[in-house]
Each structure stands twice: as C-alpha cells, then as structure tokens.
C-alpha cells in the first residue's frame, strides 16, 4: 500500500507541473528549430529564448526590431516599443546582452515584413540581466609586445645611426671637395 | 581579355593635365551617376520580369 502511495505521489509530482506549464506557456523552441520546422510552426504561438544583440532598430510607428541570438542562429522579433524598453543591455563584444524569453506569433514569411522569417512578440520577459564585459589585456600579449617593440626599436635605431653616418660622410666629402676647390683657386 | 585600352589612354593623360583638371570632377559625377542610373533601370526591368513570371504565368 505504502509503495502505491509513494508511486502515486511521485507521479503527481512529476506529471502535474508538466501539464500545468504545458497549458500555460507555449513550448520553447530554438531558432534553428524554427527555421527547419518552419512549415509546421507557421502562424503558431511559440516561445524563444536568447540574447538580445547589437541594438534595437526603432521604427517610426511605435514598433521596433530586436534581434535575438541563441547560440548559432538569430531571429528578428517585431515588438512594441514598451516591450523593447524592458531590454536594457544588448550584446556586443563589450557587453553580454540580456537573455530574454519572448512569446509571440511565428511567421515563416511574414507578409507585413516582406516575407521575412520572424516573430511578432506578444510578451517579453528578461530572464537574465546582461552585464558589461570589458576587454582585459592578456599578460602574455604584453610580453610579446615588449619583445617586438625592442626589436623594432633596434632596427629603427640602426637605420637612424646609418643615416647619420651617411650624412656625416657626405659632409666630410663636401668639406674635402671645398678644400680642393679652394686650393685650385 | 583585351582590357588594354586603359593603359593606352594613360599615355595621353599627362600631356593635357592643366586643361582637364576642371573637367575631372564633372566627369566623375557624370560617370558615377550614369552607373547608378543604369543599375536602377536594371532593377526596374527585373521588377517587371519578376512581376510577370510571379503573377501572370503562375495563375
């Protein structure tokens, strides 16, 4: 009897959250999934999770394009400006962008965006906040740099020294010539 | 394969340098805009072609 109860509770623990979540939010797809399964998913409501990159492209009509990158692929999301304003950090080389979860209608070739494969967002949630990632200087590079600049300096110094020598020689030649001229006169 | 003319032309260029100096900018503007115009005409032609084959022939 105890065993049965244990199995039953386990089943409830495992199954119930799944059914609840399944009914409340649409499944999360990767962008690559969206592209490869585009014919089946066309027009359905889906959720995408990824990093907002580079910058939002704000258009005049109160909407913006935000590009979302998950791993290898990126997708354009068309959203209202108030949704866009929730995103604070966009990914560049100096910033890790906000990870957002966007739920919206997926279009394989959105007629309003001239046939683009895109998402029209209904809701947006910032899952992880981004942060700045300033470039740090690698100490190994500094060492290499020091050695290289030393070699370059030596080369330059050698060149300058030789040039000086040459001009000096020329000067001496000139003086000798002058002396000869004077003597001849 | 015979793009040689560029080189032939170059010989004459240096002789009449002062005379063409004023005309160079005008030539560049004319040349550049004529290329742009040509490309735009080409695009217009492609749009027409696409429209014909996309709508008329498919229906």
């Amino acid at each position: 009897m105890r065993r049965y109860i244990a199995i039953l509770t386990l089943a409830i623990i495992v199954l119930v959250p799944q059914t609840i979540f399944a009914s409340s939010s649409p499944p999360v797809y990767s962008v690559t999934d969206l592209i490869t399964k585009a014919p089946e998913l066309d027009g359905k409501t889906v959720t995408v999770r990824g990093e907002a990159i580079t910058e939002a492209l704000e258009r005049n009509n109160g909407y913006s394009w935000v590009n979302i990158l998950d791993g290898s692929s990126a997708i354009g999301v068309w959203m209202k400006n108030d949704l866009k304003d929730q995103i604070k950090n966009y990914g560049t080389n100096l910033v890790k962008g906000d990870i957002v979860e966007i739920t919206g209608k997926f279009f394989r070739n959105d007629p309003e965006a001239d046939g683009e494969l895109d998402l029209r967002a209904d809701s947006l949630k910032v899952v992880e906040s981004g942060y700045p990632t300033p470039e740090k200087i690698n100490p190994l590079k500094v060492i290499v740099l020091a050695i290289l600049s030393l070699v370059a300096l030596l080369l330059f110094a050698d060149n300058i020294y030789k040039n000086k020598k040459k001009t000096q020689e020329k000067k001496e030649d000139f003086e000798i010539e002058n002396a000869i001229h004077e003597e001849l006169e | 394969m015979q793009d040689g003319l560029i080189f032939n032309n170059n010989g004459n260029q240096s002789e009449k340098k002062p005379a063409i100096k004023n005309g160079v900018i005008k030539n560049v503007v004319v040349g550049f805009s004529s290329e742009v115009l040509f490309a735009l005409c080409l695009f217009a032609w492609l749009v027409i072609l696409t429209a014909i084959f996309f709508f008329v022939l498919s229906s």
């Binding site: 592209i35 490869t36 014919p39 580079t54 910058e55 492209l57 394009w65 590009n67 990158l69 290898s72 990126a74 997708i75 354009g76 990914g91 560049t92 080389n93 100096l94 394989r108 070739n109 007629p111 001239d114 046939g115 494969l117 470039e135 690698n138 590079k141 500094v142 740099l145 290289l148 370059a152 080369l155 060149n159 | 394969m1 015979q2 793009d3 040689g4 003319l5 560029i6 080189f7 032309n9 170059n10 010989g11 260029q13 030539n27 004319v30 040349g31 550049f32 004529s34 290329e35 040509f38 490309a39 080409l42 032609w45 492609l46 072609l49 696409t50 014909i52 084959f53 996309f54 709508f55």
Partner: protein, 506 residues
Amino acid sequence: MLRKLTKFDFKITMYYTGKIILGLAFTMVIPLIIALIYKEFDSAMDFIIGILSSVIFGLACMKFMKTDKPPNLFQSMIIAAFSWIFACAFCSIPYYLSGHFESYLDVYFDLMSAFTTTGLALIKNVDHVSNALNMWRHMLTYIGGQGIVVLALAFLIRNTGGAYKIMVGEAKDESLEPSITKTAQNIWIISLVSLFVGTTMAAIAAYYDGLSWDRSILHGSWMFMSAWSTGGFAPCTQNLSFYHSYAFEIIMCLYMVMGSFNFALHYVVWKGNPKELLRNIEIKTFVVTLSITTIFVAWGLSAAGIFTNLNSVLRRGILLVISAHTGTGQMAVYANQLVHSWQPLAYMGICIAMMLGGSAASTAGGFKALRIGIFFKGLIHETKRLILPESAVFKMTFHHIKDQIIESGMVKMAGLIILCYCFIYLFGTVVGVACGYPLGQATFESISAGANVGLTMGVVSPSMPAILKITYIITMWLGRLEFLSIFVLVGSVGLAIGQAFKGGRK
C-alpha cells in the same frame, strides 16, 4: 627554356615583399584607431602586435635586401606570389589572437575568403566580435579585392596568352610597365570615391531605420565594402536581414552590381563616356543572364507558393539572384530556409547565377560575362561558317571599350577557362559528397566557393571536416586568380625549389 633564377631574383623579391608588408602595417592602423576609440584594449594589443611584426619584417627585408633596380615582369610575378603568402601570414595575426577561431586552419580559411572576396566565414560568434576586428575583416576584402583587380589588369594587359608566353617561354627581361602604377591609382580613385559615397548612403539608410549614428557609419562602411568588393561578409549572424531595411538592401544591391563591373569599363565611363554602358558586351551578357536567372527564381518561387506579395519575392528572391550573380554572397534569407522551403527551379536559378559571375577584371568570380559573351559569339560564328559557302569571308566583332575582332584564340581561351571552372565546381562537389553532405548542398557550396560568391546552404561551419576546408581554400584561390596565373606561380616556385636543391648539391 625556362629562365634560371638568380640570387638577385630572391633579393629583389624579398625587398618588394617587405615593402608591401610595410604598407600593410599602415592599413592596420585604422582598426587600431577604432579599437582605441571603443576602448577595446585587448583587440588594440592584437593590432599593435600585428603592426610591429609587419614593420619588423618589412624593415628587415628592406635593410638586408636593398636594391635600386625595378623588377621585371617575371620577378614581379614571383613578388605577387610571395607577398600573397606573407600578407596572409601577417594579416592573420589579429585574427588568430582575437580568439574567435577554433584553429589556425579556420583563420586561414577566413583570410583566403576575405582576400578572394568570397565571403564564406568560419568565425565564431560574429555578433560579439570587436569593432576593430570587424573593420579589419571588411578592409581585407576591400583591399584584397582592389589588389586582385590590379593584378588581373596587369595580366590582361596583353592578350591573355601573350603575357605568359613572354614570361615563361622566352623569358625576356621586360621591365614592368609604369602605366600599371597609373592603373592602380585609377582603380583606387574609383574605389575610394565609391567608398565615400556608398558609406554615406548606407549610413543614412541604417540611421533612418533605427541604428545609432556611430554604429550606422561603421555598419554602413562595412556593408559597403562587403558589397562593393563583392565579398559578402557582414558584422552580424543574420547578414543583410539584420537590418530589416528595404532601403539598405536596395543600396547594397546597387553597389553589388556596380562592384561587378569591369574596372576598364568604370574607367571609360568615369572619363566621360557613359554610352559605353549600353554598348559593352559584358553588360549586355550580364543583363541577359541576370534576366534569365531572375525568371527561374521568380517562377520557382511562385510554384513553391511560399510568398504572397511581390515585395517578398524581390527582397528574398531577387536580391539573392543579384547577390549570387555578382558573386557577392550577402543574403536576406536563412541558409536553412533555402534547404527546407525553396523550389528546385529557384535553387537551380541561384546555382546558375553563381556559376556565371560578373565581369572580367572586377572582384566578381565565376566564368565572367566577357568569356560567356565571346564564347557564344564564337559559337554563332562557327555555325555561320558551316552554313554559308566556303568562299564567304566575314568576321565577327564584339564591343568592349572598342570594337574588337573575335579570333579563334580568344574563343579557345574563353572555353578553356570556363572548362577549368566547371572542373573546380565538380571537384568541390565530389569532396563535399564524399564528406557525407547531400548532393544539393554540396553542389551549392562548391559553386559558391569556386565562383567566389559566399552564399551558403549551411555546409560551411567550423565543424565541417578539415579536408573540406582545405578543398574550399584551394578552389577559392584557383577561382580567384583564374588558374593560369596560379599555374605560372606554382611553376616558378617549383623552379626555385628545384634550383635550391641543385645549388645545394654543388
């Protein structure tokens, strides 16, 4: 007999190679400045290391190999080969140090892709690449592209066969023509004026469509360089579709088409003869082939039934045709979309467009319009000759800058080169299929590499087998330098090695 290589040949080669590398060091200053402006200190270090090592190499070469003599034609060919190898090595320093590549082979692939203005990329995580490295990637396509044109024009100065005969067969010590320098200057003037105007146009479009002003200038200049030199790189994973902007796409198309024109044609038009545009055989051929491939794609897409309005077809389909035909490789659709939802007819149209390519003596790849034009005219000529009585004498002419008579040598040459291209397309496909990729994708990717286009159906990725990477590197190189010059270069390098061995034995 082949000309013997002397110690002086080596000396003069290294001297001029050093000069070229020194020049390259100066171009690295631009990305360095960008790095400092945007506080990308690690990238700045990469570029300083790059600059210093190039300067050291250049200065050392110029110091120890000093000569005052100008190189002759044969020596300048070897200089081209050597400087190519060394330039790749020094340009790769910032690439390699950036940490965005899995291996040196990937770095080399991207460099070759940049120098040949192909546009296939193995760089990882493009969206997080520093502005400095992005600048450098796009500058390399731009510089590489114009450099190649100079080289192409230098080779095409005589009838293609002639130059090689002089060089390899008789080995006359002919001095390099001073007008080549003049030509190089003209090419740079045309390119720089276009760079200025094009960047401005693209930046305005990008700014209008929502990018911040400094980023729109950067992205505008990068995308312009990529389009004008028919490269195809982009600072974003999504390539052209990142911008979601019709105006931006039209501007890019404009410069793709202009970038695929012959520089001799540019020169004539810019010297005040715009009518040449309507008479030139290459332009005529280009318009005809572009129209045919457009029809294929429009028809194919209409049969596939995925697009409903005209603008969709234009922005997704026809943009791709233009990009493929000019050998650029910027795209506003996803690689996977091509695989999963495009009709075979549309796919074939794109493949044919890629094979044909733009004009000779431009940065475009493929067969080139001039060859196709001459080949077809030759075909008509032969047919006429067979139909008409033997006593009839007639000649066939074509208009390229001036009216020229088609000789059978020209037709033969055009046919041979076209055949060589077909061979590398086939070669790449065979290797791709052998590596386990589907035939359609392997063909597409192979043509894209061999014709220096840069469109992709998803085969090119850091995870593809090394043998395929090497194959594409070779086909890109062969396709870019149009076979003969490479055969000559390989021949002369082989000669040098052979002589080194001989010298050693003595």
